[in-house]
Amino acid sequence: MSHNFQKDISGCGLIGIINKDGKRISGGFICKSLCLMNDRGNGLGAGYAAYGIYPEYKDFYAFHIMYDELGAKTDTEEYLKKNYQIEKKEPIPTAPVEGIAIHPILWRYFVKPLPEKAERETAWLPDDDFVVRTVMKINSEIDGAYVFSSGKNMGAFKGVGMPSEIARFFRLEEYEGYIWTGHTRFPTNTPGWWGGAHPFTLLDWSIVHNGEISSYGINKRYLEMYGYKLTLLTDTEVVTYLFDLMVRKHGLDASTACTALAAPFWKNIDDMPEDEKAAMTALRMVYGSALMNGPFSILFGHSKGLVGFNDRIKLRPLVAATKGKTVYMASEESAIREICSSPDKVWAPRAGEPVIVELETGKGQ
């Protein structure tokens, strides 16, 4: 498949739910909400990310992998066997769905990098870095194999179909998670394929996105300097890797990372007090190539929280609501009300200002 596509302009729909107390809910809820926004997508991609779904394997990286054909599976498993302790491997359970006539081969693996350092190709890497290396290697070097997700106690379920079809196909009602994100896609200039459906994930970071990252080319080249390989033919992939780089590798908090990605305009920086001006100027200079241009609303999920944010001039919709210890974020208020008819509070987050929700301490681990 050619990797020369530059961008994806889309009018998608997204939804995220987080229970701050770590209470786990079935995938049926988020599917119901997402289906209300069916007309925001066109059946060429839908998907979900779920956190807390594999408590019995919570210490293992859960690899969800799609294969175009069995040869890709053989090659991938050979690599995994050499480098990982494979606690369990199995086909991802699916159900026959009328609208999904063809689908890739889908397997999941619960794995740990082998402790015998010598057996790893790059013995000095910490576990997380080694997993990132593995994901990049599989995606870029093994023809027809793509990693859907690679985090602990979480997973991505995605494909080509409408939200309800993908949910039934992956039997999402059987999973319980404390954070869910969902996405329905309307791809316009990159292919609607199984690997190109949202969410895009790496370790336990997951991204669903409505909009277009016009700065994809700059962001891609920047990420490539750090060893990320962009193989999934869609702009949203850069967002996932930018968060991995900024939050996990550089140690920024979510708020600072969002500020760097949707940085204030220079004219607004000029009006800031001196210390803030200096900080913003530094942030924009250091992360100039990470700045995301173009219209977007994005939900960024991770094992301890959920972040929603917009581009700087709010070119895509985002609504948030709370009810008790649950926080919802979606493209449309009605999607939230479909599963929460009387929220305590509903609001439209302002452009460039992230809504950051974290689990209560010790919950959801």
């Binding site: 709010k314 919709p317 009605s334 009300r337 479909e338 439209a348 302002r350």
Partner: protein, 246 residues
């Protein structure tokens, strides 16, 4: 009065029921349990009043020409696109891009409105679209405005620390009037926007608009008028006339 239960009904079916009822001369319609259905009231003509119970979906009242829509709750994005006449009354907040290219009729919103409200609004002779928002507004309020009236009231100003109106206020404006209740920071406006106090004529018009608004939400015009307004108008009819002249 005709009541239609919209629960779980796809927008196409719902809107075709509404159109049928209107074409049969129904003057009062209640839509119960609406949630997210798009395009309600689009292209509708006549004198019908449609009350909506629930949160209607995007693109409400586009190209609407006559009817009155009453929304008891919040409403979403893109309301009143190119609306020609009639009225939309929203008791909660409304989303982004309201009254885009609107050419007549009224949008009355009790709460906050989002980004890009009243952009490209236009007016001509008797056609004079009016948007009144009772809360705060986001960026690009009245951007590229060519006609009509935008009024922003900030009635619940103390409830949060957000400014009452966002950046790029009236940027590119070349017609119409924006009334803002309170002071306006010149920094938010484009170079083509002039900020002035109201004269007697302005006050007369404003009062007229507000009286109608207050009737819809059971408010008192005097209470609202107690705080001073600023008027924003295009400072020059052709602010960029010389841009490419040299």
């Amino acid at each position: 009065m005709l009541t239609i239960d919209a629960k779980g009904i796809y927008y196409r079916e719902l809107n075709s029921k509404v159109r049928d009822a209107v074409s049969k001369g129904e003057k009062e319609i209640l839509l119960k349990n609406v949630n997210g259905q798009y395009y309600i009231g689009d292209g509708l003509r006549g004198e019908t009043t449609i009350t909506i119970d629930g949160v209607p979906g995007n693109d409400l009242a586009a190209f609407m020409d006559g009817p009155t829509l009453i929304i008891k709750n919040n409403a979403q994005d893109n309301i009143g696109n190119t609306m020609n006449s009639g009225k939309v009354i929203i008791h909660g907040n409304a989303g982004d891009v309201l009254g885009y290219g609107m050419r007549g009729g009224k949008l009355h919103i009790r709460g906050d409105v989002g980004y890009r409200v009243g952009i490209h609004m236009k007016g001509y002779k008797k056609q004079n679209p009016v948007i009144i928002a009772g809360g705060k507004a986001g960026d690009f309020f009245g951007e590229y405005m060519a006609g009509g009236v935008l009024i922003l009231l900030n009635l619940d100003g103390k409830k949060d620390d957000r400014p009452m109106v966002g950046d790029y206020l009236g940027t590119g404006m070349h017609g119409g009037i924006i009334f803002i209740r309170g002071d306006v920071d010149k920094k938010l406006c484009g170079a083509e926007v002039g900020i002035t106090d109201l004269d007697n004529e302005d006050n007369k018009f404003l009062k007229e608009y507000l009286e109608d608004y207050c009737k819809d939400f059971n408010l008192k015009t005097e209470d609202i008028m107690r705080v001073g307004f600023k008027k924003l108008i295009p400072a020059s009819l052709r602010p960029y006339g010389n841009l490419y002249a040299y």
